[in-house]
Symmetry: C2
Subunit: 130 residues, 2 copies
């Protein structure tokens, strides 16, 4: 299980913002949104983001440089992430599939090597955009 990490003030402000957002947020858009709350510099945002990613409360969508709150309840999710990304409307959803995560967690490459962590990004068209 996750150890509980009580969030600090900046972390809480930024997590709440991302958590409420219907879509992934980018760092400088976060910065803009929290300036009224006293967070004025990029580093304050990036530090909170780093920590939130580390403890698995949010994930980074690498191909979009954007951050999304994790809504999976299971642990380990910060080490095993999968997303679907619509190439038209940019709708992004975290995929939680037991069979997928089982398959990837057990995947061995040619050298028999297993991996502790992965990030998978699927691209296609969402329901609306098809």
């Amino acid at each position: 299980m996750h150890k509980e990490h009580p969030l600090t003030k900046n972390q809480q402000i930024i997590f709440d913002l991302i958590d409420k957002s219907p879509e992934p947020m980018k760092a400088y858009s976060i910065l803009f949104s929290v300036q009224k709350k006293g967070i004025k510099a990029p580093l304050q945002v990036y530090r909170a983001l780093d920590k939130l990613v580390e403890i698995g409360k949010i994930h980074k969508i690498e191909s979009r440089n954007a951050f999304i709150a994790c809504h999976n309840s299971s642990c380990q999710v910060s080490k095993a992430t999968a997303f679907s990304i619509c190439e038209i409307c940019e709708k992004i959803t975290e995929i939680s599939s037991a069979s997928l995560s089982k398959y990837l967690a057990n995947f061995k490459d040619k050298d028999g090597m297993k991996y502790s962590k992965y990030n998978l990004e699927f691209f296609g068209l969402c329901k609306k955009c098809r």
Copy 2:
């Protein structure tokens, strides 16, 4: 099968450089290396990179903002990429596993949606670093 794309001068210069590199290269490191050949501006590099990615000659490692030449002979690879990344020495290898690509190409999410494209990045420790 791929349609053959004869590379333009800039594309060829940049592809050759990446292809020879033992490790993925970043855009500005590419820029530095090709300045003696007359490529002087970031845009010239990014334009060539975009095209090379599009036609599948190279791939972008999203979590590293770096580019690697594709050594898979099969087609479709630019739409279905998987890499292993060592978190210590940053050694990066393209994974070519028929079973993995088959599994992912056929993966359907909860809504029964299939995806035209994916990128998977595994993280762990390479042989040397274990």
